[in-house]
């Protein structure tokens, strides 16, 4: 499935629904706090309708906006890993979660098959990097680091 003018149509429809929902919500607010959101919601609806019409009536020119859905596979995998990483911080702590995140993401995003050597190099890089993060944030700046239940 090619995402070009089809994407414009989807964007326009989603924008219109999104704008309409916010316009409805804005309408329930009191004056003057509703003035600004109403203006923006109307703006979103008008622009989205124009994008929808553009998507409907413009002839496809083969413009490559988003590539194919196949190219989404790895970014979606990274999104899921990032979500798991952030949620796991509350359980296993920042440093352990970050170490695991670096290891997993470096394997997922590499083009070649991981070898023992490459995994070893990544382990070393992760330890050095997290050591640097500890030095800057915990030691030098004295920032608070998210802690988990276990660590």
């Amino acid at each position: 499935m090619k995402l070009n003018y089809g994407a414009d149509f989807i964007l326009g429809v989603c924008g219109t629904v999104f704008g309409a929902a916010f316009l409805y919500q804005s309408g329930t607010l009191m004056y003057p706090s509703k003035v600004f959101p109403v203006f923006i919601a109307v703006g979103i609806i008008v622009i989205s309708v124009l994008i929808t019409l553009q998507g409907l009536f413009s002839s496809p020119r083969g413009e490559d906006i988003g590539g194919t859905l196949a190219t989404l596979a790895k970014p979606v995998a990274v999104m899921l890993i990032a979500a798991v990483y952030l949620l796991s911080i509350s359980y296993i702590g920042f440093y352990v979660a970050s170490f695991l995140c670096i290891m997993v993401l470096s394997i997922v995003t590499t083009r070649s098959q991981p070898t023992i050597g490459s995994v070893g190099a990544t382990t070393l890089a992760a330890l050095v990097y997290l050591g640097g993060v500890y030095f800057v944030f915990s030691f030098a700046l004295g920032s608070s680091i998210p802690r988990g239940i276990l660590f």
Partner: protein, 511 residues
Amino acid sequence: MVDGFFTLAVNGLLNAVTPYHLLLCAIGIACGIIVGVLPGISATTATALLIPMTFAMEPATGLVLLGAIWTAAIYGGSNATCLLNIPGTPSSIATSFDGYPMTRKGEGERAMTIALIASVIGGLIGVFVLLFAFAPLARLSVMVGAPEYFWLCIFGLSTIASLSTGSALKGLLGACIGLLIGTIGLDPVIGIPRFTFGVPAMIEGIQLVPALIGIFAVGQVLHLTQQGSGFIAEYKRTPKLFTTVLGDLARSSKLNLIRSSIIGTVIGMLPGAGGPVASLISYNEAKRWDRNPARFGTGTGDGVVASEAANNAQIGSSLVPMMGLGIPGSPTAAIVLGGLLIHGIIPGSRMLTDAADIAYTFIMSLVVANILLLPIGFIMLRVTANILRVPTRWVIPMVLVMATIGTYSLHNSMVDVYVMLVCGIGAYFLARVGVSTGPLALGLVLGPFIEDALNISLQFSQARGSYVEVFFMRPMSLVFIGLTLIALLLPIFQEKFSKRRAATGVAKDEA
């Protein structure tokens, strides 16, 4: 009186260049650059973290350190922006439009050197304005009220067309989404929650910095994953880099440098406007007045010059209302103000008489900091450029980890971190359908300003019984309305003029 001014300025300079102050300044610059590179740790955070350290110092010494960190942190933000497309500070958003494309073309070191030189020149111009005119300009800056701010922000929104890559309609949609995100949370007028959908954590609203880190850092992580290349860009060590870039800027970017520094200085003087607004407007003006605006966004040095000169010029000028009237022009200026108050120094017109030695030492130390930034910044950018040698498979997780800890450290809140991820994923999908991140960020930055200014102006209008008088009859408002109209109409006339000139050229060739 003039003699008195020069005596104070010279004494301030002599105090600022003592070996102890020079050493502190150099340490402050190095720390500031490192802090600026880290997303989430802004100049404001760095000065806030360091202010307790200055309590044990002499007032002037503490201010020398804070000024050096502030100057360097704003510049340091450009390093991560140019190399990784992740603005280290919100002031560097506009730098990403050309800085990162330059890196992709193998000109990463050149982009960072341009940013360094533009930052220093912009910074010096801003400080000289502070030095020579802070008392009269401070009085002028408070004449800008809510209606004027409203029109200034509308003028800022006229930059959308410049920031949109591809469809202008999608750029407008992105800006509107950014503006709408800014309305989430407590209503600024009557304090009721809006668009929180019953989630208590949303009552505080979407904070600007976590959202921007998400849009740029997480968005960049996903883009790099999609690209799948082994390295971000080719790393080429450029010989005679500094002299070449300096020569190029002196030959072809003089006007852009001066114009951008002036824009940054003027916007910096307005309390609250800040570096992001200054750099975005400056970038837009550089593009508008360029002979070939199409080259902006593709990796031109002039885009980096415009953004960096403006955001560093606003540092000095944002101190104008603080030192002249005791009104901080930016969050960092507010922290410096707090530092002054703790030392028993009351900013305002009497500061020139009661604590003139400290005031002039601080101002002259900013001049020294800008000059020292040049060699220290250059050495550090040569080191920082080695990030391009790191494989992408390591850069991706490391950027995600840095974005996480940077965002968390803002308010020690995991909610900010989740907001960062959601904004990043949203920005990535919007970018895939052609909605660029520039207008989205612009909407986020300007949204709270516009709403505050609009609400106050509406209440003011109700009290005065006239909307026209409040919105359209104030002199400074008329200036900003005029500038907005020029901004909107000029491209149309420029296009007509260039078409006519092209047609005349063709006719001459045929003849």
